[in-house]
C-alpha cells in the first residue's frame, strides 16, 4: 500500500451510514427471510447493509466468513450489524491499537469486530486482545475497571439456559426512544427486556439529557478531525496529483493544492472537509469545535452519572450505588432502509447514527445483538453499552440476549 490511497478509501471513511457512496457501488444487504429463500438474488428487495463497515457485515451475514473486522467511529460496526442481523462489537476507546488504521476521526475511531454470534466474536484473536490488554496498559485505571466489572461477572453465567440476573441493573435511557423510532423496533426491544426481566434483571429508567445534542457534536468533531487527517492527501506525498490546466496561476501553492484536492476528493468527502475546516477556523472555533467539545463532556458526564461503576479514567471517581450496570437501547431507529428510499439520501443517512454516536463520543464499549425481526421482516438490533473498560460484561449480557432470543424464535 505504498501508493497513494484511493478516493474509495476516503469515501468509505467519510461516508455516512449507508455505504452507497463507494466507488464499487452500494453494498446490498444479504439478509433474507426464510420465505424469501426461493426468490432469486436479483429479484430480492435491495436494502442497505449500513455503513461504513457494511462490506464486513454483509460478508459475515452472507456466510462468506465467520467474523470480520471493521472500524467504528460513530456506529460503523454496530449499525451494519443491526441491519444485517449479526453481532457487532465496538470495544472501549483506546483498548485496541489503531496503528495501521487510516485515521478518520482519531478521538472516535475504534477497531471493532463483526461476527455471526457473540461466541464467534469472542473466539477471535481480537477479543483475546481485549482480555489481555485490559489489565495491562495504564495499569491503574484498567485494573480498577477490571476489578469492578469482575465482581458482577462472577455472579453471571451466560452459558446457563436461564442465568440468574438478579444482581444486574439494566438502564433504559428514555432519550433513545425518539418519535422517529419505528414502533415495531420498540416491540422487539420490549421483548428482549421482558426476557431479561424474567431472568431477574432489574429494569431502571434512566435519563441521559444531553443525548439530543450528540449527533451535532459528533459531526462537528468528526469532520474537524477528518479535515485535519485528510490534509496529507494533497497530491504531493499522498493522493492523486491532478495537473493544472494550461494558463492556471501556479505562483500561489494554494492554487495547486486546491485544484488537485477538488479533483481528487468526491463530493461527500469535500462536504466533510469543508465543514471540518470551517469548524476550526479562528472565527468559528469557539461556536463550533469548542461547543462540540463541551457537549461531548456533558455526554460523558451523563453516562458517568448513570453507571454504578465509576469511570476508571477519572482521577477521583465517586461510587454511585444507585447506578446501572449496563444500558440497553435499540441500535438503530429503523431496519435497513431500501437502497432506493429517501432514507438513503439527503439528511437521512446522517440521522442513522443517532443511537450509536453517544457511546462513541464517550469512548464506551457497545455491542449490537440481533433481537428478532421488525414488522417488515428485517432484523432489529439492540445495543448493550457499558462503562469504559467493562467490555467483558457487555459481551456477557449480549450472550444472554442472543441465547434467549434464539429460544424465543424457536418457540414461534
Amino acid at each position: 500500500m505504498h501508493n497513494a490511497p484511493t478516493d474509495d478509501m476516503l469515501v468509505r471513511h467519510a461516508s455516512p451510514s449507508l455505504n452507497v457512496n463507494s466507488i464499487h457501488g452500494p453494498v446490498v444487504n444479504p439478509y433474507h427471510s426464510l420465505n424469501e429463500k426461493s426468490i432469486p438474488w436479483a429479484e430480492r428487495e435491495r436494502r442497505s447493509a449500513g455503513g461504513s463497515s457494511g462490506g464486513s457485515a454483509a460478508a459475515v451475514a452472507a456466510g462468506m466468513c465467520d467474523a470480520a473486522l471493521g472500524t467504528d467511529t460513530g456506529g460503523s460496526v454496530r449499525l451494519p450489524a443491526s441491519y444485517c442481523g449479526i453481532t457487532g462489537l465496538k470495544p472501549s476507546y483506546g483498548l485496541i491499537s489503531r496503528w495501521g488504521v487510516v485515521s478518520y476521526a482519531d478521538s472516535l475511531d475504534c477497531v471493532g469486530v463483526l461476527g455471526k454470534s457473540v461466541d464467534t466474536v469472542k473466539t477471535t484473536r481480537f477479543h483475546h486482545m481485549i482480555q489481555r490488554i485490559l489489565p495491562q496498559a495504564t495499569p491503574h485505571a484498567r485494573e480498577k475497571a477490571k476489578v469492578s466489572a469482575e465482581s458482577l461477572l462472577s455472579t453471571l453465567d451466560a452459558d446457563l439456559s436461564s442465568p440468574d440476573l438478579s444482581s444486574l441493573r439494566i438502564g433504559i435511557p428514555q432519550e433513545y426512544f425518539p418519535s422517529e423510532l419505528n414502533t415495531t423496533i420498540v416491540t422487539a426491544v420490549r421483548r428482549v427486556l421482558e426476557r431479561l426481566s424474567s431472568l431477574g434483571a432489574q429494569l431502571i429508567p434512566v435519563s441521559l439529557p444531553s443525548t439530543p445534542y450528540a449527533l451535532s457534536a459528533y459531526y462537528v468533531i468528526a469532520s474537524a478531525e477528518a479535515s485535519s487527517n485528510l490534509a496529507r492527501y494533497d497530491g504531493v506525498q499522498y493522493g492523486t496529483r491532478s495537473r493544472l490546466l494550461p494558463g492556471a496561476d501556479k505562483s500561489k501553492p494554494g492554487n495547486v493544492y486546491a485544484h488537485t484536492r477538488s479533483v481528487g476528493f468526491g463530493a461527500e468527502v469535500q462536504k466533510r472537509i469543508l465543514l471540518g475546516t470551517h469548524a476550526l477556523t479562528a472565527d468559528a472555533f469557539d461556536n463550533y469545535f469548542l461547543q462540540a467539545q463541551r457537549i461531548r463532556q456533558r455526554i460523558k458526564t451523563d453516562f458517568d452519572s448513570a453507571f454504578r461503576v465509576p469511570n476508571a479514567q477519572l482521577s477521583d471517581p465517586s461510587p454511585n450505588p444507585d447506578g446501572v450496570d449496563i444500558l440497553l437501547h435499540p441500535s438503530a431507529i429503523r431496519t435497513a432502509p431500501r437502497l432506493d428510499s429517501d432514507a438513503a439520501s439527503g439528511l437521512g443517512p446522517y440521522l442513522q447514527d443517532v443511537m450509536t454516536v453517544p457511546a462513541s463520543l464517550a469512548g464506551l464499549p457497545a455491542v449490537s445483538i440481533p433481537a428478532g425481526l421488525a414488522a417488515d421482516g428485517w432484523p432489529v438490533g439492540v445495543s448493550v453499552v457499558g462503562q469504559w473498560g467493562s467490555d467483558e460484561l457487555v459481551m456477557c449480557i449480549g450472550k444472554v440476549i442472543e441465547r434467549t432470543s434464539n429460544e424465543d424464535n424457536r418457540n414461534f
Partner: protein
C-alpha cells in the same frame, strides 16, 4: 464548570489574545536614532539535541546526511501511523525551562497547526498552542544588568527541508529533518537595541549548550530566530511591530534590525504608518523585504491533537531533572573559583568548554570542564588546571587542534600528573611524555611509556649519572664553563640546559646545578 472538564483548557484561549505587556525600561538614548525607542522581541526555534525524533523512532539527522535516509513511516505522515512522544525531548526541554527560570507546567498538551506546504507531509505540525510546556522566566544578559523575560517554551515538530532546483524547476524535499524536536522559546519584547538582541541570542545559545538541550548553531540551522521590531518616539505609545523571519546569524540579525528600525523611522517621519508585515531579510542588500501583510496571514486552524494525551509532569520528575541537570555557566564558574582556580584559569576552561560538541539526549560531551572535574577528583585542582591549560590545551593549540581532538584520556593525564608529583619523572619529562602521547595518539599508560622511553627521573642518590652528564656538558661547552669559572653565574643556566638535554629531561635541574658548580670548582 464544564469548561474545566474539557480535555484541554479553553480558558487559556483568552491568553492568546491578551495584549503583550511591554516592560517599561529606563529611556535609552541611541545616537543612531535620537529621540526614538526601539522595542525588540525574539522567537527562537532551537533543535533539540536528541538521538531520536520528537514522536518517532527514527534518528535525528546531522548536517550533510544523505537526504531522505532518517525517515520513518510516521515522519512522512504515512496513513495509519501514530505519534509516540519521546521522553528525552521532554527532559531536555524541561532542563531548558528550568535554566531559563520558567514555570514548568504539570499539565501541557499538543495541538495541530494546519497549513499546506510541501515541507509538511501531514498538512499539520504538532505544536503546543493552547497549553505550552512552560511559561514565564527570564534570562540575564551579559552586559548592562538587563533581564529579558521569557513568555513561553513549547515543544513542536520541525518541518522537512525544501530546496528549489532552479535549473529543473523542481522543489526537492528532504524529510530527514521532518519530525525532529524543536523548542520554541518566545521572549518578551524586552530588548532595546540590535546589540541587546545579539547579547540575548548569544546568552541563550550558551545556556542551551550548557544544559545540553541544543547545539544552538545558527549557521547550521539548529537555532533559528524570528525577530519582532517596533519603533516609537520616547514617551509615546508603542509602534506597530513587524516580524523578520528566519535570520541565520547574529550578524545578519543585527543588520536586519538596524535596517528595519531605519525603515520604520523613515515611514513615520514622512507621516505614514507602519503596516504590520511579516518580512524577510536580503543579506546582499542588507535590507528587509515584505513576505506578507497581516491580512494575508494564514488561519492555522489549531486543533488539539486527538492522538496525544496531555503531558503530565509530576513535581518529583521536575525536581529530579533540576537536581541532575548540568550546572549553568554562573554556577560552574563559581564552583571552579571555589576550588582555588584563578579567574583566568576558570575563563580559559569555560571558553574551551563552550566550544564542545553537545552529546545526544543530554549526555555530557567531552568538555574541558568535565575533563577537569574528573582529573581533579583526587588531585590538587590548581596543579591539574596548570597541566590542562598550559600543557594540554597549549600543545593542542600549537598543533592547530581543538579540545575535541584531544587524544589524551583522563586516566593518562591523571597518571602523568601523579608521576610528576611523586617525582617519578621530572616536569620536563612529563611535558615530553604528553607531547609523545598527543603526537603518536598513544593509548599506552604513561608509566609504561616512561620505561619505554627511559624517562625515569634520576634519583638524587644516583649522582654518578648526573655527574657524568655534567662533565659531558662542560666538555661540550668549554667557553661557557670558563665564563662560570671566571665568576659569571648566569651562564651556568646554559650548562644546566645542556645537562637536561643530555639527560633527556631525566636529571633534576636543581641537582644538576649543584653538581655542575662542584665539578667546575675542582
Amino acid at each position: 464548570m464544564l469548561v474545566r472538564h474539557c480535555p484541554w483548557r479553553s480558558i487559556q484561549l483568552h491568553q492568546l489574545w491578551r495584549s503583550r505587556a511591554i516592560h517599561t525600561r529606563e529611556v535609552i538614548h541611541d545616537k543612531r536614532w535620537p529621540g526614538w525607542q526601539v522595542i525588540i522581541g525574539i522567537e527562537v526555534h532551537a533543535q533539540i539535541k536528541s538521538r531520536r525524533k520528537l514522536f518517532s523512532e527514527s534518528f535525528t539527522s546531522r548536517p550533510g546526511e544523505t537526504p531522505n535516509t532518517t525517515v520513518s513511516a510516521f515522519d512522512s505522515a504515512f496513513p495509519g501511523t501514530l505519534p509516540v512522544l519521546n521522553p528525552k525531548c521532554v527532559e531536555l526541554a524541561v532542563r531548558t525551562a528550568l535554566a531559563l527560570n520558567s514555570k514548568v507546567h504539570h499539565r501541557s498538551a499538543f495541538d495541530r497547526k494546519h497549513y499546506f506546504y510541501s515541507d509538511l507531509p501531514a498538512g499539520y505540525q504538532i505544536t503546543q498552542r493552547y497549553s505550552p510546556l512552560a511559561s514565564g522566566g527570564y534570562i540575564k544578559l551579559s552586559k548592562g544588568d538587563v533581564a529579558v523575560g521569557i513568555t513561553q517554551i513549547q515543544l513542536e515538530q520541525d518541518t522537512a527541508k525544501s530546496t528549489f532546483d532552479g535549473l529543473r524547476h523542481t522543489s526537492l524535499i528532504d524529510l530527514n529533518r521532518a519530525g525532529s524536536g524543536l523548542m520554541e522559546i518566545v521572549s518578551e519584547p524586552d530588548m532595546r537595541s540590535p546589540e541587546e538582541a545579539a547579547d540575548y541570542v548569544r546568552t541563550l545559545q550558551a545556556v542551551l549548550r550548557c544544559v545540553g538541550s541544543s547545539d544552538g548553531n545558527m549557521e547550521q540551522g539548529s537555532f533559528r530566530c524570528d525577530v519582532n521590531v517596533s519603533v516609537n518616539k520616547h514617551g509615546q505609545p508603542h509602534g506597530t511591530r513587524c516580524e523578520i523571519k528566519n535570520l541565520n546569524s547574529v550578524k545578519f540579525m543585527m543588520m536586519a534590525i538596524t535596517s528595519e528600525v531605519f525603515r520604520h523611522i523613515e515611514l513615520l517621519e514622512s507621516g505614514c504608518s507602519v503596516p504590520q508585515d511579516t518580512r524577510g531579510f536580503d543579506e546582499n542588500k542588507a535590507e528587509t523585504f515584505k513576505l506578507r501583510s497581516k491580512v494575508d496571514s494564514p488561519d492555522y486552524r489549531y486543533m488539539p491533537d486527538p492522538n496525544i494525551p496531555p503531558l503530565l509532569l509530576s513535581e518529583e520528575y521536575i525536581e529530579t531533572i533540576r537536581k541532575t541537570m548540568p550546572d549553568l555557566p554562573d554556577a560552574t564558574r563559581a564552583r571552579l573559583l571555589n576550588l582555588g582556580l584563578s579567574e583566568r584559569d576558570a575563563d580559559v576552561l569555560m571558553a574551551v568548554d563552550s566550544g564542545r560538541e553537545i552529546g545526544f539526549d543530554g549526555e555530557l560531551g567531552k568538555g574541558a570542564v568535565t575533563y577537569f572535574d574528573s582529573l581533579a577528583q583526587q588531585r590538587d585542582p590548581r596543579v591539574v588546571v596548570n597541566w590542562m591549560t598550559h600543557e594540554l590545551i597549549g600543545q593542542l593549540t600549537a598543533r592547530k587542534e581543538t579540545f575535541s581532538d584531544n587524544p589524551v584520556s583522563v586516566e593518562q593525564l591523571g597518571e602523568l600528573i601523579d608521576l610528576v608529583q611523586d617525582s617519578k619523572i621530572t616536569g620536563t619529562s612529563g611535558k615530553s611524555l604528553l607531547k609523545h602521547i598527543i603526537a603518536n595518539r598513544s593509548s599506552s599508560a604513561p608509566s609504561a611509556l616512561t620505561r619505554e622511553l627511559s624517562l625515569e627521573a634520576v634519583s638524587e642518590d644516583d649522582n654518578a649519572s648526573t655527574r657524568a652528564w655534567c662533565v659531558e656538558a662542560i666538555e661540550a661547552l668549554p667557553k661557557e664553563a670558563e665564563a662560570v669559572r671566571q665568576g659569571n653565574p648566569r651562564v651556568l643556566n646554559k650548562l644546566v640546559g645542556k645537562v637536561m638535554q643530555l639527560s633527556r629531561g631525566r636529571a633534576d635541574a636543581q641537582n644538576a646545578r649543584v653538581v655542575l658548580e662542584d665539578v667546575l670548582r675542582r
